[in-house]
Symmetry: C2
Subunit: 564 residues, 2 copies
Amino acid sequence: MKNYGQDTDFTPQWIETVPKQNSFRSIFKWGDNQAFKNPSKGFLKVIKQQLNLTDADFTITKNTGDQTIKETMPVNLSEANLANLEKIVGKENISIAGYDRLKYTKGKAMEDIMSLRQGQVKDICDLVIHPRHKQDVKAIISFCHDQKIAVHVHGGGSSVTFGLDCPKGGVTLVLSTHMNKLISFNEINQTITVEPGMMGPVYEDLLNHAQKKLSANKSYTGGHFPQSFEFSSVGGWVVTLGSGQASSLYGDASDLVISQEYVTPTGSFKTLDYPATATGPKLNDIMKGSEGCFGVLVSVTMKVFEYLPDNDRQFAFMFPSFESAVAAGRQISQGRFGMPAILRISDPEETDVAMQMYGLDGGVMDKFLGLKGMKKGRRCLVMGQAEGQRAFAANVLCQVKKTCRKNKGFFLTGYPMRKWYKGRFSDPYMRDALNDYGILIDTLECSVTWKNLHSLHKTVRKVVKANPHTICMTHASHFYAQGTNLYFIFITAMPELAKFKIYQQSIIDSIEAAGGSLSHHHGVGRMMAPWMERHLGAQNMEVLRAIKTHLDPNGIMNPGGLGL
Amino acid sequence: MKNYGQDTDFTPQWIETVPKQNSFRSIFKWGDNQAFKNPSKGFLKVIKQQLNLTDADFTITKNTGDQTIKETMPVNLSEANLANLEKIVGKENISIAGYDRLKYTKGKAMEDIMSLRQGQVKDICDLVIHPRHKQDVKAIISFCHDQKIAVHVHGGGSSVTFGLDCPKGGVTLVLSTHMNKLISFNEINQTITVEPGMMGPVYEDLLNHAQKKLSANKSYTGGHFPQSFEFSSVGGWVVTLGSGQASSLYGDASDLVISQEYVTPTGSFKTLDYPATATGPKLNDIMKGSEGCFGVLVSVTMKVFEYLPDNDRQFAFMFPSFESAVAAGRQISQGRFGMPAILRISDPEETDVAMQMYGLDGGVMDKFLGLKGMKKGRRCLVMGQAEGQRAFAANVLCQVKKTCRKNKGFFLTGYPMRKWYKGRFSDPYMRDALNDYGILIDTLECSVTWKNLHSLHKTVRKVVKANPHTICMTHASHFYAQGTNLYFIFITAMPELAKFKIYQQSIIDSIEAAGGSLSHHHGVGRMMAPWMERHLGAQNMEVLRAIKTHLDPNGIMNPGGLGL
């Protein structure tokens, strides 16, 4: 008899070694090469139970991607073109090495990782270029426009939508190497202008230490903390319409952008940088979310906020049902007292998994919650953080508490939130550990109005669960008066790429059919591209195509991205 | 010797009669035909002083526009075209009468009024159409596209930028006649969908009485109150990028729009209505501010807010200088405690005029303020209103007070704010009274970053004041963390239209040169069109032209609007 989910002493031999140089693993492994995060004992138990696995399934790692990448791969660019591009940036800033070309054209989608684990090489660029500044970008775009060479941009590389693929080959511009600098800081306007390749932690560190590093009077925050924060770039946030974990207060990346400077095949421009204008449709808006299909972002001016971490106030509640938790979330978002920066509602399955992960399942806390009417399989965890001026944050906390209690929420103190906060960027490391044992963990997400939320949640869960032995955890984490997002995490043992693709498509179909957007903050890339025409409508796509044709008549900019 | 500004008992014989039927005056007169507002004794005294006028200058009215408009004017549309358009909407919904054609193609810019007072008729449409519904609009646009007939849209008619002019003749669609209906109200999503011709007061009344009129659980507000509120339409707010007096909390019209439905010459579409999405550049954004140049807005979904007027908290302060008042305004906007809904900073001249208007000049209050270091010619009035959930509004008031006091502001209670609030929509009536005596009163406005504010204020004032005997009152009234707007009101005796045009151009030039946007909330129309290419940059204009060419290849939609 198999020991499904039994509480054995067995611990898998998680791989905790730095990936071999030039290996496929060194490309797909999340984040820091020397950092690892393995499922807790509690989490592993849930996985074994739900996925119908035994300790034996965690004894042999597979497809670990340790094989070495070939140094040389065919280059579909003429010698003359290579020489001309080299002339622009210098020999030290180009590479045709197989490793580099693969590294900078693969993102972090489950399929990227599955195919890299199997040693597959496809849709890579012919040449990696590290432009030094916008003049380099101008020269490159001009040359590639003339020669009809496809151009792709690599920001932080955390795309989960095949945003970096190069199905037509061509060049990939890596912006994080050189184009990662501060351009200017304007304290009176509370704006910062940076090159797009600046990475999240560098950006936030500059702002947090603005007094020392920017000669400012105060310290600041950018307010943008996607889960990929440590490995994503400021430019990437803007061109993909990302959202941070604190977006309910600070806004999505789209709300944070004051102005942008682009190099396109038909010209360069900077958008206006007024706080608001009534001078026709705004080019700043038109370019946001263009995912490299219209041009290359070469500088961006963002809003910043006074940094007041001492005022942060955490909270967590348990609700008897998803309905009551969502009602509280909606009432908070419509409450006219300002928004908490972070707000998260876990659905019953995510809540139960969390309880098990933290070993709270079956314990005193579990029994206590049961007595309070918070039953397993129905109860929902809600947590968050208020930020801002001291009395503002205190009032947000006070109103959140009132609203939660009115909806039968039971206050759990701020402890669960503080615990989540500490590990908020490290969960992606766990994917590598699970993948090593053939366990797939992936996510799909959408935005949805309050009205459609529950039917969408039920519909999509049904489709996810149609695959037997699958965990489906869902949370809402970005709140608006008109709705929220739903983020679906599914875990199952499905090592076959082809089967996975069909599964994934069925989930996306169900999201769209149930009234969800194709994406709340992951972007479109090439993953959602096939749905775009139907989702936006033909007229909408034609407008995007008209803009594309105008700015990029030869179709060299990120071909196939956005479905354009 | 002339009695410049002397405190005489003289009161001009202000015209307080309903304009004659079919007269030019009945077209240009502001608002309600039976409503009038004359300058107070104090204000008249200021005007006489500053404009170097005497009582004698207020004895003979001129260009009162009482002449009757010709019934018949040449129609540049073929009989066949007229018949076909009549077939679409029915005889009762079209008009070729001179009066109607003039009425619906003139806005409320100073030049509109000056030319109407002189009995001038130009740039009018050939045919006025009152479409009944979007199907009518579709049929009209399709026909006009085929026949290359120019199409213009009349919302509320309060344009101050020649937004309604028809330099190529053609048709004007009046949306307020029939297309003014509620389409749906969605309380759970806090959105309302209306036809674009619904007027401000009808819209706000529906929401304020949502329990009774919309079977809602709560009452709501749209949060949008431009000075033209009573005579502007919801659709007009959106297509011109308007801002309400409470925009600092509720957002500009642009922020309030969830989705829009358009009829364009190349097709009809509705934009997505998710609270936020990452599915590429948003068509909802691309269409906002398109001023009828891309297509006709036929329905619009707006955010609404719980209506909590009992929590409103008024405040007013006097500051020793414009610098200290602006510093307080900036610190409030960057203070991270939420924004007051209304915030207004009057510059020294506007403050002094206000003191004189209300008869406070030279009185006890004046002396008291003088003792506090608030000297005439330097002191600045700041006032506003906090709104929202009770404790939120109370904290905003508390933080505003703290910030103002830190910047040497002296609290004047909420009285001045309440006084302003009562008359906030009625000041435009005064223009007619002053114009009757040949006194021009006009406004230009822009947005500006905090960094550029003071130099822009000085520069523009200098240009306005280069015309002798001119009052120039300036205020900031829409606040953002990154900047605000500056609204210049100038009053002078300048009856010559040609001279005024040159004067106006010099002011716009100075705004642009000093780093202001061409408009914060008046829009572009045809007034700002000549500046657009330089202001936005050629590349930006080309993108707008590309969208225009795609949606309107025959160039029939509001030709010349936005400079397209």
